[in-house]
Assembly symmetry: C2
Homo-oligomer: 410 residues x 2
């Protein structure tokens, strides 16, 4: 590490004083590296999460496991996970801000336990934030979710996040004994408990869908206070209002249609947040979309289309969608379309175009909708981290620092 | 790696043939290392778990977080986990066979999510097996447990194990809404489901303490078939009979009294297994005990006693035990006592003495009952792996290959 990005909480155990410091470069290795152990009878250090950058870019994955649409070859689940861990390592090395892993309970995915996968990634990475995308909170136990992600937070030195959602795929409901009739109530009740667990070590709570807690202590406590919880939504206004009212960051999935049509939802979120009295600066918005990068645009389409088509048509058959054509795919990757498929210039332009509309703070790409060759995904990550991210961050920082030329929609 | 310990399942994707190979040294890096990816359009490799050694030695930990009994200094939870991961890495490097992490839901432990912790360890280790010790199955959901450990198994390339128990500490029961009156029924019912999940991808099941499953697919599937499940017992004959009847390996905790008094339990296990028709070779026994090693015996006692005393007296106050004295501690570390505290010679002698009685196949030590300085634990691990393990393995291999001189109790 050439310089130290980390803030450090320094606790003097003899005097009992605690203070936040940002170590100068020369001390960085002493403090953030292993050698700080030398003086630990006197001092204790806790590394505090890196402060939010002007704009965060990252990747999310459901760790899909689908055959190559041309050759029919499919890697083994163990190999797919090994590839994924290397992808997260590379995302960290090229300076991306977030890697998120989704939850699915189907044979085409290896991701029924995101916190377990992210913990392996935590052991191989330094600064990237590690999130779920999403945790299907409705069919899970908030206590276990909190314990898993608090443990991940400690293992990663404050890099864990929970992205909670009601679930787009619903195969987890019968698996864990929940009724789809309770779809929304399950989520709101469990979210309430999860938020209580974040702010208090001992919790008293009761609800309809989980046994009551009576002054129950829940451990371990995470390093971040509070552990970040994002609300992931697919476009339901009610979910957007809930996130705004609670003052929680919003992760908006834009995986179909024209992104600008989502602008009213974003305004609804900000308005709900304002009405509930939250500081507008706290009302953070992330956008999650499908995409893929290659050195040239034609190759980006050629490499990604067959696998996206195979998966979307398979899901589409279950959900009654029309088949995806190459022409639609091309149309959706135009500037106003939702797909971020192209060369780095095009992706930079698209993210900045959307930023004019949404003024969002984070953008996450699902690079592989169906399993793509590992080396190609690695190249796409490199392009996103080394080519796209610095240019997007610089332009958004410029916009944010010149409010007159780019007035805030608020 | 100087030579290749791994068996590899080689799948020729073009011809559709699969075979188990043990690659010669020169090919090891090609197969087990990263370069096997080069030819993966033609071949797929799955690394198969290392075959069981004649005798396995290892460590288990509850990742306790207690103040130094002399200085009062306590490391942070994040630092305790970082220390633990280094300890597991070292255990792997010095050739120990198993590292197991227990489950507790109390402020004095950082281990409410063992699978998450073990996944971080999987990413930093090569050959050591990674187990829970124990998973409190009675208050958990077997589907989530299976998913977490199947994911761990894939991440670790076939090194995961579940050690399932009813729970010695019972704080998880109110936390997850279970009634202690159902203590044994909860365990037997959930164990039944867990074992079904191991052997079948689709499961139909119903019981009293978990929603029913109707032809439910549970993913991901582990690399090991089946995923190992050990039954951990504290000394209850009923539990021992259950393990034997099911033909599952038995992990016997001997943390008090004279070990030889446990011999009838071991015989009961073998007898139950024989009556149920299981191959005696399948009826594997592990012993879990408290212990600590240092270069000389006096130092082993000096370094470990204060922290063991502090923790045992704290738990003892809750459970009505008399205070632990230095004299008792010394007595328990004698050859016939349960404590494996001493220099390497003494520990070798003790394990071999117990092996005469039990003919067990595995021995795990809990090195830190209360948090000990990290450097001291690292030294103990080194002594266990480099000094104790080779001598114990060699002697037991000799005994096993000369049955006339050391007749089997069977």
């Amino acid at each position: 590490m050439p310089f130290c990005l980390q803030q450090v909480r320094l606790i003097d155990l003899q005097v009992g004083v605690s203070s936040l410091i940002r170590p100068p470069n020369a001390l960085c290795d002493l403090v953030c590296g292993r050698s700080f152990r030398l003086c630990k009878t006197r001092y204790r250090f806790d590394i505090v999460p890196t402060p939010t950058r002007p704009f965060e870019l990252g990747i999310y994955s459901f760790v899909e496991l689908t055959p190559d649409p041309v050759t029919g070859v499919m890697v083994s689940p163990a190999e797919r996970l090994a590839d994924l861990i290397e992808e997260i390592e590379l995302a960290d090395q090229v300076g991306l801000d977030v890697f998120a892993v989704g939850e699915h309970h189907r044979p085409e995915f290896v991701s029924s336990a995101p916190a377990v996968i992210l913990a392996a990634a935590a052991a191989r990475t330094e600064t990237i934030r590690l999130s779920s995308a999403v945790t299907v909170l409705s069919s899970d136990d908030p206590v276990r979710v909190f314990q898993n992600f608090a443990t991940l937070d400690l293992l990663s030195r404050g890099r864990a996040e929970i992205m909670a959602g009601r679930g787009s795929f619903i195969e987890s409901f019968p698996l864990f004994g929940y009724d789809l009739q309770d779809y929304d109530e399950l989520f709101s009740e469990k979210l309430e408990l999860l938020l209580k667990l974040r702010t208090s070590e001992h919790v008293t709570w009761s609800g309809r869908h989980r046994p009551a807690l009576e002054d129950a202590g829940v451990y371990p406590r995470p390093l971040q206070e509070p552990l970040p919880v994002w609300i992931a939504v697919g476009g339901t206004p009610q979910s957007v209002v809930r996130a705004g009212t609670l003052g929680l960051p919003l992760a908006l999935a834009i995986i179909g249609g024209e992104p600008e049509r989502f602008a009213p939802l974003v305004e609804l979120y900000r308005e709900a947040g304002r009405r509930a009295g939250h500081d507008p600066a706290q009302l953070t918005i992330g956008i999650n979309s499908h995409g893929y990068l290659a050195d040239d645009a034609e190759r980006a389409v050629e490499e990604s289309f067959p696998s996206v088509q195979a998966v979307m048509n398979k899901i589409g058959r279950e959900r009654g969608w029309p088949p995806l054509t190459r022409r639609q795919y091309e149309a959706s990757r135009s500037l106003r379309g939702h797909l971020a498929v192209g060369n780095p210039d095009e992706i930079v332009e698209k993210i900045l175009f959307q930023h004019e509309i949404f003024r969002h703070q984070r953008y996450l790409l699902q690079l592989s909708v169906g399993t793509l060759p590992h080396d190609k995904v690695m190249r796409a990550i490199e392009l996103l981290g080394r080519e796209v991210a610095p240019r997007v961050r610089a332009e958004i920082e410029r916009r944010n620092s010149t409010p007159k030329r780019t007035p805030s929609p608020q």
